[in-house]
């Protein structure tokens, strides 16, 4: 599905990714793990066209990725950033409608009714402004808004960052539902247990390169890799 081959990228004069290669398969969840500053979020931003690819190639089903985040969104990739980026002066409904009206129709798998079914809490908060939501509600809204793009691939950056354990569990359960429905996902996550219980495949990134590849069971069993690359 999505292939990164020898990708180099970074911020300004600072290069963060040094020839990173990985593959996300159709219908599977890929977790990208690594210590702080390893290049996980940079990888996602490069996929989304928010940072330029200086070297290497990124393809989706063999087709080169679009140059801008707009083109990439139109190719069917939805991105939930770490910052969530809820529009503060728009209500929950308006935040959702921004994507629902652009990507959805009655035949689309994800409709407003369906995302509210997945996140009933949002249904109770439809007229609340973006700033009146808790961190967990904002994360639900960010995921719901991304789903309304009816994506082929959902990319999530640190979805549990700063959330209470009970909300982390709720987000985990919802993402598990999406996984069982066959939605392809790439997940960057610091929470090792959360990531490996959700993921099928795992790559570990260190200093801008993939240093470990395998499935979730393998990384759980490989204490040496956990200790060496993740400090677990």
């Amino acid at each position: 599905m999505l292939d990164l081959t020898s990708v180099a990228s970074g911020y300004g004069e600072t290069q963060v990714l040094h020839g990173l290669s990985l593959r996300a398969e159709q219908g599977r969840v890929l977790a990208v793990l690594g210590r702080n500053g390893a290049g996980k979020s940079t990888t996602l931003k490069t996929i989304m066209g928010l940072l330029p690819t200086r070297e290497g190639t990124i393809t989706l089903d063999g087709q080169p990725m679009g140059k801008t985040s707009y083109d990439i969104a139109r190719m069917g990739i939805a991105y939930v950033p770490e910052t969530r980026d809820i529009f503060p002066s728009l209500s929950v409904r308006e935040n959702l409608e921004i994507t629902a009206k652009r990507f959805g129709d009655s035949d689309s798998p994800w409709t407003m009714a369906r995302v509210l079914d997945l996140f009933p809490r949002l249904g109770e908060r439809m007229n609340n402004g973006g700033t009146q939501l808790s961190g967990g509600e904002q994360q639900m809204l960010a995921i719901a808004r991304a789903l309304l793009m009816n994506p082929r691939l959902l990319i999530l950056d640190e979805p549990t960052e700063g959330l209470a354990p009970i909300i982390v569990k709720l987000i985990h359960d919802k993402l598990m539902e999406l996984k069982h429905e066959g939605l392809s996902m790439i997940l960057v996550e610091q929470n090792f247990g959360f990531a490996t219980s959700l993921a099928d495949d795992v790559v570990v990134v260190s200093k801008g390169q993939v240093v470990w590849t395998g499935d979730a069971d393998a990384i759980r069993a490989d204490e040496n890799a956990q200790h060496r690359w993740l400090g677990v």
């Binding site: 989304m48 985040s69 707009y70 002066s89 921004i98 994507t99 793009m149």
Partner: protein, 334 residues
């Protein structure tokens, strides 16, 4: 997204009632001042749509108003079109010009956007100033007003013309609110908050900016066509960057991103200008000091100051009244 608070409704009603009362009772000079306020209010309403809700601070809205005025003048005096048709035509021409400026300027931000719009405005000013077809620096005269005698209104009468302008300002305000509450307006708000995120959500950002800039230009064009009818004469001065600068001052003075505030700012600005200029020719100094005071107060203009002082109190009082009335209803039912 734009929403009407109780205070905004109250301010709107007070403005409308005050303007109507002035239109009905004022003498010739008072009506001229009122019309000047109404036309400036229309221009700053257009500017607030893009600057206050889209972060597009434009220094070409004066020029857009000028385009509307010249388009109306040419369509009536040179093309011989009936004034109502020319009015529609001038709005369409200005909207198209504004759309092109918005589309070209959409990639620029902050100071670069301001400079781009200033350049467009100055290009229009210079061209009109030099072109004999537009009357050069002599301008154009003999511009007719719309004939509404069919409904018993003689727009050559200052009172009727002021009422006509008031009605059209009301319509322009309604259109601005509808646009800002539509999907397009919501997208514009999203673009102002986080353009990159909107792009990643699959939104054609330049198109949203261009569309709203075009619609805002149509309102500026309407103001221009009315300004041409008001004085029945136009000159290139109408397109000068100082007109755009003055409109921006009025928006900031009134309250950016409130729609109501800039209209209050227009009234305050014109009244202040006339009253202070009776005392001293340096009225700009007084307006300058007032603007500095408003900016230094950290309130969002005059209306922002009013909102901070009385907005919450008014909302509380209204909610108390609602609760009281609900309680009385329950008691009566019991």
């Amino acid at each position: 997204m734009f929403q009407h608070s109780a205070l905004r409704y109250t301010a709107l009603i007070l403005l409308a009632v005050g303007a109507f009362a002035q239109a009905v009772t004022a003498g010739y000079f008072g009506l001229e001042v009122l019309t000047e306020i109404l036309l400036l209010a229309m221009l700053v309403l257009a500017l607030d749509m893009v600057a206050g809700f889209g972060g597009m601070v434009s220094l070409c809205h004066g020029a857009l108003m000028g385009v509307g005025a010249y388009a109306y003048a040419i369509l009536t005096t040179k093309a011989g079109l009936a004034p109502p048709v020319a009015l529609g035509g001038s709005i369409a021409v200005t909207g198209a010009a504004a759309w092109v400026i918005g589309a070209i300027g959409a990639r620029a931000h902050g100071i670069y956007f301001i400079m781009a719009t200033l350049a467009f405005g100055q290009m229009a000013y210079s061209y009109v100033f030099e072109a004999p077809f537009f009357g050069g620096d002599d301008g154009m005269g003999g511009i007719p007003r719309i004939d509404l005698s069919l409904i018993g209104l003689d727009l050559n009468d200052s009172r009727s013309f002021a009422l006509f302008c008031l009605a059209l300002l009301g319509a322009a305000y309604g259109a601005a609110v509808l646009i800002l509450r539509s999907g397009l307006g919501r997208s514009l708000t999203g673009v102002m908050h986080n353009e990159q995120r909107m792009r990643a959500l699959g939104l054609t950002v330049w198109r949203v900016k261009a569309d709203v800039f075009g619609l805002s230009g149509m309102i500026a064009g309407l103001a221009g066509a009315l300004a041409a009818q008001h004085v029945m004469y136009i000159s290139p001065g109408l397109l000068a960057w100082t007109v755009s600068g003055e409109a921006l001052v009025v928006v900031i003075l009134g309250g950016l991103g409130t729609l109501v505030g800039p209209m209050i700012g227009a009234a305050a600005f014109v009244i202040l200008k006339h009253e202070v200029s009776n005392v001293t020719s340096h009225w700009h100094l007084v307006v300058g000091v007032l603007l500095i005071a408003v900016v230094m107060s950290r309130a969002n203009g005059l209306f922002g100051w009013i909102e901070a002082r009385w907005g919450a109190r008014l909302e509380r009082r209204l909610s108390d009244m609602t609760r009281k009335s609900d309680a009385e209803e329950i008691t009566t039912d019991a």
